[in-house]
Amino acid sequence: MGGVLKPCNEVETARVLSWAMAERKSLELVAGGTKRSIGRPMQTENTLNLSELTGISLYEPGELVLSAKAGTAVSDIKTVLEGQNQQLAFDPPDLSQFLRSSAKIGTIGGAVATNLSGPRRISAGAARDHLLGMRAVTGRAETVNIGGRVMKNVTGYDLCKLLAGSWGTLVAMTEVTLKVVPRPEAEMTTVVFGLSIDEAVRAMSVALGSSASVSGAAHFSAKLAARSEISEVSLFKKSVTALRIEGFLPSVRARKDILANALKSFGEVETLDENISPRVWREVRDVTLFDSASEDAIWRISTVPGRAPDVVRNISRCENFEALYDWGGGRIWLMQPGYGDGGAEVIRTVLDRFGGHAMLMRASPEMRSAVNVFEPQSDPVAALTRRIKAAYDPYAILSPGRMYAGV
């Protein structure tokens, strides 16, 4: 276990990296550290902790733009945005409970570096869709400016996309610039209880294809619903299919009716008001419905929404699995037994057939060392990945091995 290097600013960050580069010292990149247990366990000698790089450096509500140093707490940014009735549309999850992390304060740098988004992903886009620019230090210890602060920019490659979701393996971000959006004036959630997964996915597809502009579409079993802290959700002991509508109040009311009409063939429709609705979506977003003490493996599967029931049926042939379906079925949080390969082989075989990818999000370090945490890549894509890594970090000093062996 080496030292923790905690630079206070970008210049110091660059100096840490030039030292690491010259001495060939590998670094684990962290900021808040809430998502540290995701990925392959690394054999790094030192830790580069960016949590001292804090502060909002630019916020122009009328231009929908905000810049913050990478270590700024997401919660601080949310508070400032709320003051102007704005928000981060991609709704970064707080996975600290799900991951049983001792660190509780997620940072904006971490949110961008992992490209994790909440239920609103289906309508508003992912973290990467809201990243306008960043400042970062590459594995060559060069400080670079990427993108900009304006909404429309096609000058050169869209490197923001490449670096969002690069899990600290390409650059050390020092500052990010994000597009922010108005906070909806009102929200409501329409719920249908007791649907089977096949019915639920069909209902969600109908809802998402309607003119109700749904901004959240999730389904979970009665077993998961029983763990909800919201009595309106847990009480019925039935599966829950939830659809969120957000926007201006008169519009939300009108669209609630559109939605109820579209869903009437699926069963009785209940409405959760704006006091309860946000709590439901927080539970979905932060994945808190799984047993937090369990040693099982939890996967995040991204697939074709309509194929979700087939995907899960083909993976889990026995009955004792648990699944949380978000994004209309397009994202499945699937719990598998925490022994053997945690279901890796069967999951990937099934996804080869139905399309999509799977990532092992919660598992023991032993399992994360033994199985591919990230979806294995085809040969040409794996070769591109290695060459992109070398382009940014030729000496593999930045979180080496977190995503793939040798990257």
Binding site: V150, I388, A391
Partner: protein, 498 residues
């Protein structure tokens, strides 16, 4: 024609032209290779017609496999390749090279799958942007990005340029609406990025590919998401006596939580030209005109119309008119959409600039542009995607007068430098191509440009794909990979360690 420094002609390739043409003919079906000079003339330029070059040979493959064959052959034989869609690029992205194969994707023009259940369409790259919306119109769906060339431009070209349009403030650019790609690498290898599902499984190469201007790979299939058409849409014309007041109004609308489907601004010369051309009913006594479009359920549009009216009045609007019918809404837009040809009527030629600025800088930037217009002795009309800060000044000139095009280009370059100076960027939606290539150092440091080119090297180590575009200086990949450190000379940092 203006002299543009393109990569040195590869004489060895040109000397083998005859063999190359017959090799390509043997690997492709008949009518897929064009090599006669007169027939190749239609391909000599794209939408930036000031630059022209007859390609060495044109190929029009019909399948992914054929694209792969051509690229593998070019890669093995060190032949450059310039990909082209419909050729509507405004930045010279598809400008041919005399020693390159022009790879035209227009025969790959089929829609492969319409999937309403998962709200997406799979199309070949040669399908036009509008054809996708038309294909799903019957079920009241559409594809959101709508560049003004949407009748002609192809989805493959949209991917290469990350095209925008008037609706992107609310619905995003191409990159926010593409779910998957099939790409052929210069080696001929075929890869799939994304699909009908969301998010990347590793590095986001899908996001990287979009807007890469044909430098990283050739797209042979695109999966886009489609949206349910809004129940209704209405447009409002709002006139102001200063551009500052109009800019202020745009900021206030957004600050109040309203993201209009479209929000366009025109200055006086643009309003006049457009009104004379299409009689859209634009007020002629205002200094700036906003067109604000609201869409969604009827009740929402009604509520927001009232709110926008109140905001506009608070900003001192002189003129306000709400469209009362679908025909009138279309008419309001007809003027804006015809702004370019309208300006073409008042001037023998015009040169369209495309920079983005932080919107608060608009009054200052417009003032500076007016000043520069006098300095350069050339007229100007401004249209502006006001919501997202994307400025399209149209520089008026006469190409028949000696040196006027050069003057117009210089004026355009000065405007773009100003955009960067105030915190904006060189191009919002038209791309760098050859047009803004030499301005890249205005926005990026040498290190930043080299880093971008290292990414290029990861995909195309010999710089065979669309060379001479985007980057002002071609570096050899080996040189870019080299590290310039001298062990021991980097000081151990005095960073606190814990």
């Amino acid at each position: 024609m203006i002299m543009l420094k393109m990569p040195d002609l590869d004489k060895r390739v040109v000397a083998r032209r005859h063999d190359i043409v017959s090799n390509l003919e043997s690997m492709l079906p008949t009518n897929c290779v064009v090599s006669h000079e007169t027939e190749m003339r239609v391909f000599q330029s794209d939408g930036l017609s000031a630059y022209r070059q007859i390609p060495m040979v044109v190929v029009l493959p019909c399948t992914t496999e054929q694209v792969s064959k051509v690229l593998r052959y070019c890669h093995l034989n060190n032949i450059r390749v310039v990909p082209r869609g419909a050729g509507t690029s405004l930045s010279g992205g598809a400008l041919p090279l005399a020693d390159a194969v022009l790879l035209v994707l227009s025969k790959l023009n089929r829609i492969l799958d319409i999937d309403y259940e998962n709200r997406c369409v799979v199309a070949q790259p040669g399908v036009t942007n509008l054809a996708i919306s038309n294909a799903v119109e019957e079920k009241e769906f559409y594809y959101a990005p709508d560049p003004s060339s949407q009748i002609a431009c192809t989805i493959g070209g949209n991917v290469a340029e990350n095209s925008g349009g008037i609706h992107c403030l609310k619905y995003g650019l191409t990159t926010n609406n593409v779910l998957g790609l099939e790409v052929v690498l210069i080696t001929g290898e075929v890869i799939r990025l994304g699909g009908k599902h969301l998010d990347a499984d590793g590095y986001d190469m899908l996001g990287l590919m979009i807007g890469s201007e044909g430098l990283l790979g050739v797209v042979t299939e695109v999966t886009v998401r489609i949206l349910r058409s809004p129940e209704t849409a209405r447009a409002i014309l709002i006139g102001f006596d200063t551009t500052g007041a109009a800019a202020d109004c745009v900021g206030k609308i957004i600050s109040e939580g309203i993201i209009p489907a479209g929000m366009e601004m025109m200055d006086k010369p643009a309003i006049r030209a457009a009104e004379e051309f299409v009689n859209a009913g634009y007020p002629l006594d205002v200094a700036a005109l906003l067109i604000v479009e609201l869409d969604g359920p009827q009740v929402e549009v009604d509520v927001l119309l009232k709110r926008v009216r109140k905001i506009a009045e608070g900003c001192g609007s002189m003129h306000l008119r709400v469209s009362q019918s679908e025909d009138e809404r279309t008419l309001f837009w007809a003027g804006r959409k015809a702004a370019f040809p309208a300006v073409g009527r008042i001037s023998p030629d015009y040169y369209c600039v495309d920079g983005t600025i932080p919107r608060s800088q608009l009054p200052f930037v417009l003032e500076e542009i007016t000043r520069m217009s006098k300095e350069h002795g050339l007229g100007i009309a401004n249209v502006f995607h006001a919501g997202d800060g994307n400025l399209h000044p149209l520089i008026l000139y006469d190409g028949n007068k000696p040196h006027e095009l050069e003057k117009a280009e210089q004026f355009g370059a000065d405007i773009l430098k100003l955009c960067v100076k105030v915190g904006g960027v060189l191009t919002g939606e038209h791309g760098v191509g050859v047009e803004k290539r030499d301005l890249m150092p205005v926005m990026f440091s040498e290190n930043e440009l080299k880093q971008q080119q290292r990414v290029k090297c990861a995909f195309d180590a010999h710089s065979l794909l669309n060379p001479g575009k985007v980057f002002p200086k071609l570096h050899r990949c080996a040189e870019l990979g080299r590290m310039h450190i001298h062990g021991g000379q980097i000081p151990f940092p005095d960073i606190p360690r814990f």
